[in-house]
């Protein structure tokens, strides 16, 4: 598939470029034309989208892109996906192997989700299987989801200062349930720093989505 630009047609290169450059109107129009008028393989178009998202992620990591670009990129991906997915007739091929599983949610008492959503997006495009269990997540939901999803990493998000205690309680409960040994726990959001990491006894903290990706990659032994 479209592993590098050399494998792509000029039209595919154009689609990838427009997606990566935030040229939404042209990118969506071209994807629509390829899929609905020219009979392009929907799996191939989605692969190009994923490659474009890799470029977006790298530009974000380099400080060239910021939250608005990630939000728009997510929207473009969703729009093209909505056109492409109904056209997939054959069983999808084997999905690329994921680096690891990450369970993420905003701790109880806190309803903020923008940072968590960005971390989810960045982990996803960096090859992680991410399960986002939402906001204001009770401790017992985290425990049930850990048992069911069997993640390698758990990410606890929180913007308010009340989240410090919620994170601490959640981590203590994970330890109490005997689930701590096999997972790494990272925390992030608004006010989180080393003092909060120490207070909550998380394995690590991050102040942005790149930190989250780097932590997960390092823990999984993948190149950061």
């Amino acid at each position: 598939m479209a592993d590098s630009k050399d494998d792509m047609t000029d039209q595919e290169k154009q689609l990838m470029e427009w997606l990566a450059d935030m040229n939404e109107d042209d990118a969506v129009a071209l994807a629509r034309k390829m899929l609905l008028e020219e009979g392009a393989n929907p799996m191939r178009v989605l692969e190009i989208c994923r490659n474009a998202m890799d470029v977006v992620g790298k530009r974000f990591e380099r400080g060239e892109y910021f939250l608005p670009e990630l939000v728009l990129a997510g929207e473009m991906l969703e729009t093209v996906g909505a056109i492409a997915k109904p056209l997939i007739k054959q069983a999808p091929g084997e999905e690329p192997k994921k680096l690891a599983k990450v369970l993420i949610g905003t701790v109880h008492g806190d309803l903020h989700d923008i940072g968590k959503n960005i971390v989810t997006f960045m982990l996803d495009i960096n090859g992680f299987e991410v399960k986002d269990i939402g906001i204001d997540v009770p401790v017992k939901t985290f425990l049930a989801e850990i048992q069911q999803f069997d993640p390698d990493v758990v990410g606890l998000s929180g913007f308010l200062t009340l989240a410090f205690d919620s994170m601490k309680e959640t981590i203590e409960a994970i330890e109490g349930a005997g689930l701590r040994e096999k997972i790494k726990i990272m925390i992030g959001g608004g006010q989180v720093d080393e003092a909060v990491r120490s207070y909550t006894r998380a394995d690590a903290f991050g102040t942005n989505a790149i930190d989250a990706v780097t932590l997960c990659k390092n823990w999984m032994g993948a190149a950061a």
């Binding site: 910021f66 923008i114 308010l160 200062t161 207070y199």
Partner: protein
């Protein structure tokens, strides 16, 4: 405890000295000692051992705890405490939809939280720009207040004249409109009681010698749109999809925010206006986006206010280190810049000759640290900013976190006095 009192000469002297300290900082003069500020909301519940809900609904409890906090911590200036906590009855009377609060969506011991939603649709830019008041009346108010449901039928006024104007008044007789007007009148009475309680508290605290840091709050044009109309992610998408309309609205908002902020400041008889700044931080948008969308309309708003004799006090939330050189571009000696996570020493280096500074003891330290660590953090700021010439008003990074142990709050204000001169 909350009855009006007559200001004693000693209390007047204390009031004047406290206010002068802050104004010296604003005017870039050296004050007699480093001033302190307090901004607290639900920390009062921690102080008094009451629930957040009680604080929101019981004016007397809020006033008593506010007074206790001021007498115990002795900050030079404080936020309008009642306005920031005891809003339960008014929110309920208005059936306010943009917040959830204790008893209304969150537990009795949790703070209120804002609901980031799309309160204006992307296709409504023109309607808002063309007729902001009409948009508020017919669209925005019914969306954010249950009490205003029915105002969708408010007549479209511009153009009505003569007998068409007379006929246009028929809209006020519709059953929905009548019901809405009745609810709004009842809610307004509660808002009036709330304002009277606030005024009584503020006057009593002034009589005891404690001035407020500000009364009025305003907002940057970008944050107005992002927080309260289009929602955070909606506005981020608009940076690409509705760029021209967004810029047009920001320009328009600068105009009506100028007018309104001046009027509110005059009514409050207080020169300092507080601006919580949400969407300026380094990590939220690129410098180019910041300089295109965020900064120009806010700078213009600040200049307009400064020209009207107002002292803008933006709280630059999160880390705004990369913005410092840009936000330096304002007249010197006219503003207070309050920083949350921006390194205060760096802020002093870049802005020390332009603005007074406020902040910024870390919230994680305040909530999880020990009193001696809090003391050391205050000393660091005093030694490296105030005693090097920075006009620093010492405070927490964004106010006293709700969970701060009382001994840490005491430690912060005691240390501020210890290292103040």
């Amino acid at each position: 405890m909350s009855e009006p009192i007559v200001q004693t000469p000693a209390a007047k002297a204390a009031y004047d000295a406290r206010w002068q300290r802050v104004m010296d900082c604003v005017n870039l003069k050296q004050p007699d000692r480093m001033p302190t500020a307090m901004f607290c909301t639900f920390w009062l519940a921690k102080l008094g051992g009451v629930s957040h809900r009680q604080l929101m609904y019981d004016y007397d409890t809020a006033k008593q705890l506010g007074e206790r906090a001021l007498i115990e911590l002795e900050p030079d200036v404080h936020n309008p405490l009642l306005l920031n906590v005891a809003a339960g009855p008014v929110l309920e009377a208005l059936d306010y939809k943009q917040l959830i609060w204790p008893g209304h969506g969150v537990g009795d011991n949790q703070p209120y939280q804002y609901l980031d939603r799309e309160y204006m649709k992307p296709e409504e830019y023109d309607e808002f720009i063309d007729d902001p008041t009409g948009f508020y009346l017919r669209k925005y108010l019914p969306r954010v207040f249950g009490a205003f449901e029915g105002f969708e039928e408010f007549p479209d006024l511009p153009g009505l004249h003569y007998f068409r104007l007379v006929g246009g008044m028929r809209a006020f007789g519709s059953p929905k409109m009548r019901a809405a007007l009745k609810r709004v009148l009842e809610a307004a009475e509660e808002v009036d009681r709330f304002a009277a309680q606030h005024r009584a508290f503020t006057e009593r605290m002034a009589a005891l010698g404690f001035p407020t840091s500000h009364i009025s709050t305003s907002v940057s044009p970008y944050d107005l749109v992002a927080d309260y109309f289009r929602g955070a992610t909606g506005t981020m998408k608009d940076l690409f999809r509705k760029k021209d309309k967004l810029l047009e609205l920001l320009d328009k908002a600068c105009g009506f925010l100028t007018r309104q902020t001046i009027n509110w400041s005059k009514a409050a008889q207080h020169p300092i206006v507080f601006f919580p700044v949400h969407w300026a931080p380094d990590r939220f948008m690129s410098q180019q986006q910041f300089e295109t969308f965020w900064w120009p309309s806010f700078r213009q708003l600040m200049i307009n206010l400064i020209d009207a004799g107002i002292i803008p006090m933006p709280l630059w939330e999160a880390d705004c280190s990369k913005r410092l050189e840009t936000i330096r571009d304002i007249p010197p000696g006219k503003c207070i810049y309050w920083f949350e996570r921006t390194d205060m020493v760096r802020a002093f280096e870049v802005l020390g000759d332009v603005v007074a500074l406020r902040g910024n003891v870390s919230p994680s330290l305040m909530t999880t640290g020990r009193p001696e660590e809090v003391d050391a953090a205050v000393r660091h700021l005093a030694d490296n900013v105030f005693h090097k010439g920075g006009k620093l008003i010492l405070d927490c990074a964004f106010g006293l976190p709700d969970e701060t142990p009382v001994e840490n709050a005491r430690a912060m204000y005691a240390a501020a006095r210890k290292y103040a001169s």
